[in-house]
């Protein structure tokens, strides 16, 4: 899980072009949107693309988005659960 969270931070920085943010600046439980990392609605779409491109996971229910993308940890938990389903 720790390795996956670290990878996600690097992928998010790359995918969202967060050039002034370093992986260590992003807390595992820090909210990614609004008061946290300050991501916006276009970033949310890019996160969906990121899940597809890097992890081969599609968000089946759009209403799950806010919970899945709440933080690095919730993303990692979702990826882990989906990979387990695929196995």
């Amino acid at each position: 899980m720790e390795k996956l969270m670290q990878d996600l931070k690097v992928q998010i920085i790359q995918q969202l072009n967060l050039q002034e943010v370093k992986p260590e600046d992003i807390g595992n439980d820090q909210p990614l949107f609004k008061e946290g990392l300050g991501l916006d609605s276009i970033d949310a779409l890019e996160l969906i693309v990121l899940l597809q491109q890097f992890h081969n996971i599609r968000i089946a229910k759009p209403e799950d988005g806010p919970n899945v993308f709440y933080s690095i940890r919730t993303m990692a938990e979702y990826i882990t659960a989906e990979k387990a389903k695929q196995a």
């Binding site: 969202l16 072009n17 967060l18 050039q19 002034e20 943010v21 300050g38 276009i42 693309v49 597809q52």
Partner: protein
Amino acid sequence: MSQQGIYINATCIIRHQSVDKNRQPVYAHEVPQADLQDFLRGLYDRFSGQYPKFHKMDLLSKLGWAATEILLQDMPMDQYAPEDTGVILANASSSLDTDEKYFDTVQEIASPALFVYTLPNIVIGEISIRHKFKGENAFFVAEQFDIPFVTGYAAQLLESGAVKAVVCGWVEQYHASHEAAFYLMETAPRGMALPFSAETAEKLYR
């Protein structure tokens, strides 16, 4: 002939990876023939910083955003109501550079981040968000920079009282080719305080 009560108060010209503000050279990239992305990052570091959204913009928006940043240095706009400030811009290549990049992504997964820049007037939005402009705006696409038309349009807005200040000019970018020529036109003199005429605007462009 100059138009009474309208002034060109500042200019910013960016071409060949160098910048003139009010006809004075203020920046030249230290690496000649640098990548346009690197040149624009250099402008951001030198004249702005602390605006993370900049890194997400396409090249056209970065160019126009940076030109406005330099144009308005030492020219505060907070005396104006947001509705009193306008932006009128033009270029030749529209958003073609980003359109092509977006099209390349469509073959696999279409990029939302690129898609939002597939219109030329997005640069006006980025400038307006940064400086809280909410007045008249327009973006024209033409083969060449028609200075009498663009500055005349801005002057008409000022003359009619629709706005009190306008950022106007030319912002062209396709691949590495780039040019921005921005004017700050206002109803009150400050800075360069040149009475407006199309001839004066043309001289400042050369």
